[in-house]
Amino acid sequence: MTLTERLREKISQAFYSHGLLCASYPVPIVLFTGLCILACCYPLLKLPLPGTGPVEFATPVKDYTPPPADPEPWPGEPSERPDWYVGTPVAYIQQIFVKTSVSPWHKNLLAVDVFRSPLSRAFQLVEEIRNHVLRDSSGTRSLEDVCLQVTDLLPGLRKLRNLLPEHGCLLLSPGNFWQNDRERFHADRDIIGTIHQHEPKTLQTSATLKDLLFGVPGKYSGVSLYKKRRMVSYTITLVFQHYHAKFLGSLRARLMLLYPSPNCSLRAESLVHVHFKEEIGIAELIPLVTTYIILFAYIYFSTRKIDMVKSKWGLALAAVVTVLSSLLMSVGLCTLFGLTPTLNGGEIFPYLVVVIGFENVLVLTKSVVSTPVDLEVKLRIAQGLSGESWSIMKNMATELGIILIGYFTLVPAIQEFCLFAVVGLVSDFFLQMLFFTTVLSIDIRRMELADLNKRLPAEACLPPAKPVGRPARYERQLAARPSTPHTITLQPSSFRNLRLPKRLRVVYFLARTRLAQRLIMAGTVVWIGILVYTDPAGLRTYLAAQVTEQSPLGEGSLASMPVPSGVLPASRVDPAFAIFPPDAPRLPENQTLPGEQPEQAGPAESAQDGPVPEVTWGPEDEERWRELSFRHWPTLFSYYNITLAKRYISLLPVIPVTLRLNPREALEGRHPQDGHSAWASRGPAPPGVWEAAGPAGLGSAQAPRDVTLYKVALLGLAAGVALVLLLLCLYRVLCPRDYGQPGGGGRRRRGELPCDDYGYAPPETEIVPLVLRGHLMDIECLASDGMLLVSSCLAGHVRVWDAQTGDCLTRIPRPGQRRDSGSPEAREHWARLPEDGPKAGAQEPRDSPPRRRRPRGPPPTLFGDQPDLSCLIDTDFAGAQSKPSQPEPRHRAGCGRVCDTPGYDFNRLVQRACRSEGPARHPPSPTPPSEDPTQDKDGPPPAWTPSAEGSIWSLELQGGLFVVGRSSGRLEVWDAIEGELRCSSEVSSSGITALVFLDARVVAARLNGSLDFFSLETHAVLSPLQFRGTSGRGSSLSALQSGSDVVACRLTHTVPCAHQKPITALRAAAGRLVTGSQDHTLRVFRLEDSCCLFTLQGHSGAITSVYVDQTMVLASGGQDGAICLWDMLTGSRVSHMFAHRGDVTSLTCTASCIISSGLDDLISIWDRSTGIKLYSIQQDLGCGASLGVISDNLLVTGGQGCVSFWDLNYGDLLQTVYLGKNSEAQPARQILVLDNAAIVCNFGSELSLVYVPSVLEKLD
């Protein structure tokens, strides 16, 4: 044993025990792993969050010096100082914050006066600033010396050429709108238009020109016609290149002196440095997005391979979590050990994921699910792990090696990447071993539990022995055929594209993906996000305004009062800042502004006047720039091709400037056309109070501002209404299907070509079906197990067909024929020898198989069918006369299992056949040979009274044996291949209305409401002579010998009075038996011990059909036209819907819907979970009950001479297949779906074997 092998062994063992551990204690291990992840990710909290938002840092103004470029020798505590705070900033920004108001307000003033003269003062201020010169001992210093000199705008900004300074100092003020030319300003008629001409129409996150020049957020500028607060504020922004404390100090002192701000509380003591991250441009974004798209494609294609597990999504999520958290752990661990990531995390992340990969996870999953299913979960996990241990370890070693090689490239970036990758790989291995394995074990366990639930009841009924003995040849034949049920999926793209109209495809696509909803939702989220992101303060002030509005007796009501002319209206405005308490502005004006308005200081007037807009300075003014867009400064500098990325600027404390203008000044500044310009006309001229322009009827001075709000609301409402109307129209156009209207709007008229709702008639295909002829009368009972097909007709003939080829394997004629023909040899043709039976069946032409004869037989009767006819007619007449009262004649056609032809002596025929054969093959049989001719000649013995020999009422086929229930109450088990009676049982004379043949159990429901449980037992016979069949009449046990084994039919239980009235429906699945009866109730029995579990009451009519499947869902339909869904575990009714006008004739379910048909010839499709009717299909007359489900999305229905295929999901007609030309008059009364997707339709006396059209069958 080499070293490698030993190592391999060891690793395998270690993995095995590890797998056992993981599967044994899943929950503690998952918890432990989660704790580990959290612990390792903890250091990540210290890392700055990624993002491009600016970072601030404040230093005191006093003794400020720019930080040195070299960060090392910096004194003081280094922890407070961010690492970007090195070197000089790009620029120092000085904002001079101007607040102006016209006071006192005069009623003759126009709205435009609020801002016209205040803005004109900006020119004066700018001139002042430009001309400021500092003279001290070191010489003179003007603004030009210290300011940031800009050279040229970017070439792409031609339209801003006149508005932004193109050379000299970067100094911005609202005056730039008029090229800093006072004359231009005075000549401008439309100030607001000028200001807003460069505003973008769309929503934009970056700074607009108005913001740039005003330097305050738009809503604070006060340049608006509807602002109630008649105060205008703007800033003059100066950008300095160097920090010159003395110059700045002198400028500040001068401005403060010139324009004092009396109640200014600004402290102006800190300098704020703002650092900008690197912005990601589109050019960088595209490769990044590409890598992420590739990454997602990789994840998608990887996780798609996870298969054979309970929850694919869960495991895919676990895989993604494993990889992502291993990356996080790697970053966290690296940070913990002092390595700070310098790489751009977003960029290298996809590569890290790709390097670490999902391969191990997938390999693990595959290995585990491919272990034997019957093992214990623990062992499966352990085996799977140890099977793949070597390759996992080898892969990991290889990857580590490659990465280590990368580490020795000595390139810092690659080294860092490799370090992350190594740690990530190791932590990924850790997580795979602990987290993913455990999740996998949980998943596998869940799957087994689910399987167990499904399988257990059925298995419990299985007898230990092989249920049915059948010839070895037939076994081979079975084995050669694919045993898996044939699934049919619709060709998703090409086929549907061929036939669906385009618009429908679009709509279906939209509906399938819920694209519209998702887009709208995403759009809304993005929009709200943008709103909040760009305007965080707006929401707050809006809320604050709402609060102040609600204060009782708002000042607005005072202002809107009509005031006699001559008295100064002095309608008041809001407080300067809405966040002030509402009663603050009620202070008498002389208290706040002493001596400013001497002319209206009269106490009588002050009562009406209220205070004048008060210019206050609060701490928030210092921070006003924060409310600007965070792109404000980068945008400004980008215009001059200066990037702020990874650099910082310093904001100097603002210089407050208060300007107070009196009305005279305001009037002087007025443009001659202002009086009759557009905005002035809004104010009623005679009173001159512009607030009166607001809708006084609203009784609120807030109204002018609210107008916009109302407008927006109105617009929104209109848009909403329009949208709803549009959707309604769309719905009408595209969705004419009548949901929820039972029976309304038939899908197709009778006699017309079958077509869609949309008038689309799919191509008809003339498929030649395999026609199985041979029955002389109408076929009543049909049964199939996928391989074989058994049919019985009114005449009492039973034929066994090969469902694949359509060959008639066996014919069992009605006994009367035998009796009439009188020749003992003639019976040999149906009871074939076991040796040549199946072979002959496969070789014979399907229509009229030649009879095989024994060598000793007489010459064959060429037309053996001929005598049948006469006897048939007789029988029919007899049947018509002696027909007992039918349980429910209306359902006969639909039920299919119940046959109503009475009066055949099938039993006798069988008995005689057996007897005649018995002596021939087994001479030492105890039965006297002379009995045979006696019976032949004497006719029916007295024991076989016509009532005892019943017609076939029900038929079931399974695994080569079929069970026949007769009207005489006799149960017979036949071998389908050989056509021999295997055993029979007569325990009651009450007719068998329904049969269930499941595994080795046969349950017979009788006309008198009793249930008989039989079990079929197969005994291997040691010697063929040891045992022979007895007639067993009247006994509960009878057995017949055949070939090498014997089938015994033993009565295990009898429920004497399961129902008060005849049992009409009988189904079994999942170890349960459900009976439906005419007494309006359903009962659920346990199959193994016939114990009645529930009695379900809820129908108001006889039960006509029952559906039950492995998932314990029970559906029942009754004569009242209702469908009930039951939970078979609890016996409770899940839902109840009225389905049809008339009886429900048949009922079946798929995974998502329930399909019912009724006497009203409608087929309705219901949603299984909600019970909502999806749509209905109008059937041809008399074909109401003929339907079958081929796959989860394919429904087949019968019509007049045709069968139609429907797409269950959409209710579209896919294809119509006409079955020959002469069958026009014959409705397809029954449809039986076989496993290999062939459909057997019952057309009168013929059976048609139709294969699903190949175009439907085509798989991917």
Binding site: I286, T290, V411, Q804, S1254, K1258
Partner: protein, 225 residues
């Protein structure tokens, strides 16, 4: 699927869809077009990566920079990738050794991601000198081949493509069609062959994966007949 279907009896006709796909030339054209567009897309993106360093943070017109290179570069790359992607499966077939190693889309995606990563590294990572850069990229390219291809034909074809493409580039630069900022290998950058090699492997991988579909369909068809 194919096995399951061939067992089922009854008439079996090929629908128009299948027959169109199985027809050899149409399939070839479809594959060629797909590969062409992949090549164009990759060329645009990677070109962007290469010129990114010279792009200012606030370019006046960002969209134009995507197409800043000459118009003929993406179509050339697209054509080249189509040729390479069709050549690989073709050579596999002629050599009689069909490529079986990691034939699945997730592996292809991984390969493409690594290829983009190599380009990323060549554009963004600061190396001390060109030799180091070239050696690293060469190692990465060989690693790419080892991880995703491991076939001799793939290696040979990749080397051939790299050589041919480098010669063509040399000629183009020599004739002054365009030039590199700091040529260190005659007229071009020395890492260019590595990129071409990795690109060849990647496109071959995609081409082989696409050819898998054709093989499947043909196998199905032959089963049916």
């Amino acid at each position: 699927m194919a096995e399951g279907e061939t067992e089922s009896p009854g008439p079996k006709k090929c629908g128009p869809y299948i027959s169109s796909v199985t027809s050899q030339s149409v399939n070839l054209v479809i594959r060629g077009v797909v590969l062409f567009f992949i090549g164009v897309f990759l060329a645009l993106v990677l070109n962007l990566l290469q010129i990114q360093r010279n792009v200012t943070l606030f370019p006046p017109d960002v969209i134009a920079s995507i197409f800043s290179s000459a118009w003929w570069v993406p179509p050339c790359c697209g054509t080249a990738s189509a040729v390479i992607g069709l050549l690989y499966p073709c050579i596999d077939r002629h050599l009689g050794e069909p490529h079986k190693f990691k034939r699945e889309w997730s592996s292809v995606m991984r390969c493409v991601a690594v290829f983009v990563g190599i380009n990323h590294a060549s554009a963004k990572v600061d190396f001390d000198n060109n030799i180091q850069l070239s050696l690293t990229l060469a190692a990465l390219s060989i690693g790419l081949w080892w991880t995703f291809d491991r076939s001799r034909s793939g290696f040979g074809l990749g080397v051939g493509i790299a050589f041919l493409a480098t010669v063509v580039t040399q000629l183009l630069v020599y004739n002054g069609v365009y030039q590199y900022t700091s040529p260190d290998f005659l007229y071009v950058r020395s890492w260019l062959p590595c990129i071409f090699f990795a690109g060849g492997i990647t496109m071959g991988n995609i081409g082989r994966q696409l050819a898998m579909y054709e093989c499947k369909v043909i196998a199905e068809k032959s089963h049916q007949e």
